[in-house]
Subunit: 179 residues, 5 copies
Amino acid sequence: MLHIEFTTDLGARVTVDVETADKLLDVQRQYGRLGWTSGDIPTGGYQFPLDNEPDFDWTLIGARKWTSPEGEDLIIHKGHAYRRRELEAVDSRKMKLPAAVKYSRGAKSTDPEHVREKSDGEFEYVTLAIFRGGKRQERYAVPGGRAQGQPAPQGPRPAAPRPTPPAARPARTEEETPF
Amino acid sequence: MLHIEFTTDLGARVTVDVETADKLLDVQRQYGRLGWTSGDIPTGGYQFPLDNEPDFDWTLIGARKWTSPEGEDLIIHKGHAYRRRELEAVDSRKMKLPAAVKYSRGAKSTDPEHVREKSDGEFEYVTLAIFRGGKRQERYAVPGGRAQGQPAPQGPRPAAPRPTPPAARPARTEEETPF
Amino acid sequence: MLHIEFTTDLGARVTVDVETADKLLDVQRQYGRLGWTSGDIPTGGYQFPLDNEPDFDWTLIGARKWTSPEGEDLIIHKGHAYRRRELEAVDSRKMKLPAAVKYSRGAKSTDPEHVREKSDGEFEYVTLAIFRGGKRQERYAVPGGRAQGQPAPQGPRPAAPRPTPPAARPARTEEETPF
Amino acid sequence: MLHIEFTTDLGARVTVDVETADKLLDVQRQYGRLGWTSGDIPTGGYQFPLDNEPDFDWTLIGARKWTSPEGEDLIIHKGHAYRRRELEAVDSRKMKLPAAVKYSRGAKSTDPEHVREKSDGEFEYVTLAIFRGGKRQERYAVPGGRAQGQPAPQGPRPAAPRPTPPAARPARTEEETPF
Amino acid sequence: MLHIEFTTDLGARVTVDVETADKLLDVQRQYGRLGWTSGDIPTGGYQFPLDNEPDFDWTLIGARKWTSPEGEDLIIHKGHAYRRRELEAVDSRKMKLPAAVKYSRGAKSTDPEHVREKSDGEFEYVTLAIFRGGKRQERYAVPGGRAQGQPAPQGPRPAAPRPTPPAARPARTEEETPF
């Protein structure tokens, strides 16, 4: 028997019994659909393989996709809206980094120090998840995925030059966080 | 089987077994009526849809309404008194924010840094809950509500100009916190 | 079934099963008598109704009365000695506060920032409990109380002028903390 | 049924079921012998009666005695070595303190602020336990003690003048922490 | 019955029931292979005997060996890559330290203060584990080890002069953290 601890959409701490280890991800999907989360966002954000990005099952971490009135796809997690950013590969003498997709938001005054990351200038942001390198893990994908007729959400692969850094964008979206 | 962790009115940590997931909110109401809470107030306060504000069931988060000797409706949560404030919609070039109702109190010297929010001037406050946007969720309402004859507490909808900011008000009420 | 988490007199974390909710306070009394505590002291101290002060059952929070060699009644909680202080009612234009009884001690260098309260001058103190306003709750009283022949410890009700502030007293007592 | 939470010698968080309350100390001894601990060191260190010092059962808190190559008896707790220090009684106009025995070590750069205690000068130290005053509790002693032929470790009782303060000693021992 | 708390590879908090104490390490190996960890890295890093270093079973703490494209053996733990460093014995008038092997990485901006250790200059690092002194514990070794034909990974014993301090190396590797 296993037991998984959640923070519910009402902020309550609830533990759910799970019969066997292979049913754990199902339980995480079931309650994640309600916005329940288990554990904290790891320091620096969740790390997933890049190849899991197109059809990642956000319910696994209690998050969901939301399309803003302006038509932008955002990820909602615990009332915060995270924006998708593509980071191109870096291959300089000093650093070698594979391409990545990052979901982040501007920091708010109530965010604790250890989740804030510095960007250019004064801007600080908080990362929900970063998809980089690694080997695709089928169990992270939306179950049934393409088979059920829904086209896989294939954002353009990060290959273009590194997009405008967060610092150049207003923190506007974060203030419009839907419920 | 589920298990929900509470902090009792005596500050004790008590877990209660819950048979099935659909009984969870009933258990939260039952013990919330005693002032028991589960989990911490989320950073920035609980977020609920605006349309849940008039008949929100405060027992869900271990809080209750209390009318002060001056006739003001306050929300009591863990010995603190929170005041209702209406925030009008903002629609400027820089920001777009739907109308909201916020329950907040002045910060005290013993409040940890991460719950304090800055206002105009030196004033700092702490938010219990903010009702903004979203879609009404029936399960957050007082059960039976209007059907049982009690008129829904319908405060005026936030449409008027943004009320006097907290900074302009004395922190007086917070000092009168009833038990 | 309920489960209550204690920190034992040896600092160990122990959970005790409780058959039904109405037996919870009995279990808290039983283990509180050994100095076991559940949860942390709430920020600003426990809040109880003033009318519970004379026969409050300190075992409910793992504390006990102790008479110092000088004949002063102190409350011992987790190895710290708290002194009883009466605060008179305040009724000025700025503030309206009912009379109260407060149990506090001088802060020590190892006390975390968020439990320290400022007094006049440089003096900082830590509050265990404050009895103010509210309505007497019978369940907080020593069971059987006066019935068992022990006269209720009736300190003089706080009506006299606010006593000498803590700043004017040496932190001496705290250093004599008995085990 | 009771449940005690341990941090194992590998840093894992493990809960052990205990049939009845009177078996709790046995379970603490059994796992403490493996270096498992339950809960954190209380602020300012564990407090025990002075008369428990000669045959205190260190396994109760997951610690053990260790004799250094130089022949000094140290207490090992979670990989740190604590040195025994005798504090003589203080009886001045300002303070009245019974004699005590203290187990402490020099602070390390990774020790959190709230466990560091200031000494003379810049030196900071961390206290594991202090034995002072109180009434001997038989249940804290090594079971069977002298009966099993092992002479009780009777350090000289603290009566001599207060020994050289920690500040005057190099932090050398702490760096030699054995595993 | 025992219960061990894990943080899964998805950051979820999951407790697993364990029949008897002697099966605990097996369960830690089984789930550690998936990257699940229990508890936090102890302050200053895990401490193990030096003689356990060559065939230490990293799955016990949810870590694994990974060979970088440049052929360097790194230890991956929760998405961070730790580099092996040999520390020679110190035998000066001021300090006596046996040889050790340390696994550490450069600190990142999101690392909390209490895990950062200072090195020469401005460089700060974080230690996962240090192998020093002590007596080999068979239960920490890869089960079956050499018997199964896999040569024990015998790095050169730390005897040479203390290697280039971390400060002299770029923090490059940490940025290439594989998933």
